[in-house]
């Protein structure tokens, strides 16, 4: 029996194929049960998202197991197995472990470091658990994978920097302001992107929100949607005086925010920074505004440039994460190998200990009223002999299991010491 993972992801299969195999929970439940009932597969977890359809499992022959699972999956959609087979990959043993860890840690994602995948994998695991298709092997694989994912998240910056324009704007605001709670946001215009950026700011605690729009009813509507206050468009300058973050997304062809407007309110702000997020094209904020002190002005291209830099930073961090994952794979395999031989070691120890106790008891009985020191000495002597004898075989068992051939050695030890039948 060996660990394997088989499936397709965003790199190996086009979306047209992936979307057909992305199944809902009920169907997955059904398939999980059928697959295990069919025999040949001891444990199974199916991860099915829009970017990957994978089965993690324990089987005697992974190739057959893969065929069985995908036959069931395809059957649900009336697809021909042969048509998806070309998109499938199979990893076994070490590679399977490594793959599971990389997926959970979001290193195999289309957008490296995106946080959703971990939740999706956890859901898939919970689903399989509820179907009772998770055994000890997959249980330890997935719990370890979740721990690795958490470690990658805390020890590297792989998921840290924003990769969307609107989140990049939030991140920039946090580099200017010491926290966003209680910061005043002014939203000028009613574009979708502007609303999204405003929402992100609100989620970070920004408050209050003012909305200005040429159409008063639209301003009211947007203000209601964001739990903010509408301000008349011709009172923009007044609103600027109190704002910390200004998002502009109007369809105007002339700048809405001019340098003289901003310069006029700067003095009264006493150095409070003013951050313009201009996502309109053509731009709503006059270019010369950014030359003013304490004013930071990012247009859509600037934000994209920040996103690009963030992506580079993520890739750099992903390299570090890969090293971390490889180390964890090694640790996991060593533990797994130990688990293989530990029952043998325990029964070997028990066997020798019972022999020792039996012999010590006989000797003690013969000694009669020997002084306690003598009895202690006999105890110590016999224990020492047992431990010395055990040392070499235990070491050998551990070594051999880590080298991948523990099974033959455990069998040998069982034979040699008459440890009973192996489970």
């Amino acid at each position: 029996m060996g660990l394997f993972v088989a499936g397709m992801n965003h790199r190996t299969a086009p979306v047209a194929v992936r979307e057909q195999l992305a199944l809902e929970e009920d169907k997955l439940r059904e398939i999980l049960r059928e697959v295990l009932a069919g025999g040949g597969i001891a444990e199974a977890v199916i991860v099915s998202t829009c970017n990957r359809v994978e089965v993690y499992g324990v089987a005697e022959v992974p190739g057959e197991a893969r065929a069985v699972v995908f036959r069931h999956l395809c059957h649900q959609r009336g697809l021909d197995v042969a048509s998806v087979d070309v998109f499938l990959y199979t990893h076994v043993d070490r590679d399977a472990v490594s793959h599971a860890f990389r997926v959970a840690a979001s290193l195999d994602s289309m957008m490296i470091g995106e946080p959703q995948i971990l939740g999706q994998v956890k859901d898939a695991f919970a689903l399989a658990q509820s179907c009772e298709t998770v055994g000890p092997a997959l249980h330890s694989l997935f719990t370890h994978a979740f721990a690795v994912a958490k470690k990658v998240r805390t020890e590297t910056d792989v998921g840290r920097y924003a990769v969307s324009v609107s989140f990049a704007a939030v991140e920039l605001a946090k580099k200017i302001f010491d926290g966003l709670s209680g910061r005043t946001v002014l939203l000028v215009g009613a574009g979708k992107m502007g609303e999204l950026a405003a929402r992100h700011l609100v989620e970070q605690g920004a408050f209050p929100i003012y909305v200005a729009n040429r159409t008063w009813s639209r301003a009211l509507e947007m203000a209601r949607a964001l739990s903010g206050t509408a301000v008349p468009f011709d009172e923009l300058t007044t609103a600027l005086a109190s704002a910390d973050i200004v998002i502009t997304s109007t369809g105007a062809h002339e700048p809405v925010i001019r340098r003289d407007m901003v310069a006029g309110v700067l003095h009264g702000r006493r150095g409070r920074p003013l951050f313009f997020i201009d996502i309109a094209v053509p731009r709503n904020v006059e270019e010369s505004v950014e030359a003013l002190e304490d004013v930071y002005c990012y247009d859509i291209d600037d934000l994209k440039q920040v996103v690009d830099a963030n992506l580079r930073e993520r890739r750099r961090e992903a390299q570090r994460a890969e090293t971390l994952v490889e180390r964890e794979v090694g640790k996991f395999l060593a533990r797994l190998a130990d688990a293989d031989v530990i029952p043998t070691i325990v029964s070997l120890r028990e066997r020798l200990e019972s022999i020792r106790l039996g012999e010590v008891k006989k000797t003690m009985a013969r000694l009669g009223d020997a002084p306690p020191e003598t009895r202690d000495a006999i105890e110590a002597l016999s224990s020492a002999i047992v431990n010395k004898i055990l040392h070499a075989p235990i070491t050998k068992l551990r070594e051999s299991s880590r080298a991948g051939h523990g099974r033959s050695w455990t069998e040998l030890v069982h034979e040699l010491f008459g440890l009973g039948r192996q489970g």
């Binding site: 020890e155 910056d157 920097y161 920039l172 946090k174 580099k175 200017i176 302001f177 010491d178 926290g179 006493r270 150095g271 920074p273 950014e290 002190e293 304490d294 930071y296 990012y298 600037d302 440039q305 920040v306 830099a309 963030n310 930073e313 570090r320």
Partner: protein, 270 residues
Amino acid sequence: MISPTFFTLAVIGYVCATGLALAYLVQRQDLIHRLGSVATLGGWVCHSLALVIRGVEMGRPPLASLPEAVSVAVWVVVLLEMWAERHYGVKVLGAFVLPVAVMLSMSAVGRPLEGPDIDRALSGAWLWVHIGLALIGIAAFVLNFAGAVMYLLQERALKAKRPGTFYYRLPSLETLDRLTYRTLALGFPFLTTGLLLGALWARRVWGSIFAFDPLALFSFVAWAIYAATLAGRAAAGWHGRRAAYFAIIGFAALVLTLGAGFLLPGRHGS
């Protein structure tokens, strides 16, 4: 004498901590930061021991000569750095403060530890208080300087719109500006009181405030710069870039003060 050994260990600790802090700036890895913190703390503990031993050996506070005083200033700087790093959550602070601490330590290395003979009659509690207060002030200004440098780097990164190492590693402009303001507000009263005591004492003993002492002259210039910055901040709403430039100019004046103390003959010894 045991104290030179501990002094050496302290400097080694600070040098290691500086290297690690700079490495952490480039490669954000928690292990590097932790090692750096250990090296800083280790260096500082050795430094404390060295100062205590020296004080006991000499039977007076280890503040009688300029190298000694600089050493104590470094001790306070490192203490403040450890505190501010936690308090402001600026993990890269060490990269900006520790190099200055190491340079200050190095400036004192190889100089005779014994200062000019301080007239027994002149020395007394006032002298130690004068030196001690001035040193705490100077230590706060080292952090003030570091805060200003970080502010300017982050501000430039944000204005240039090209995120680089500093953009990612440094905290927000507001945090940095607050750090700069707080350290100024902390250092200034200490420096003022320290200088005032020195001036009063000088007038009583030598009959003149400056008494042809270059260190005293330069320190007055530095004080004036900091006084102007503080006044500007409190009254005129100075902040950000302008306040940061002033912090750097003030610190330059302090460095000149120290240089004057080391290189030119005067009451503070050379």
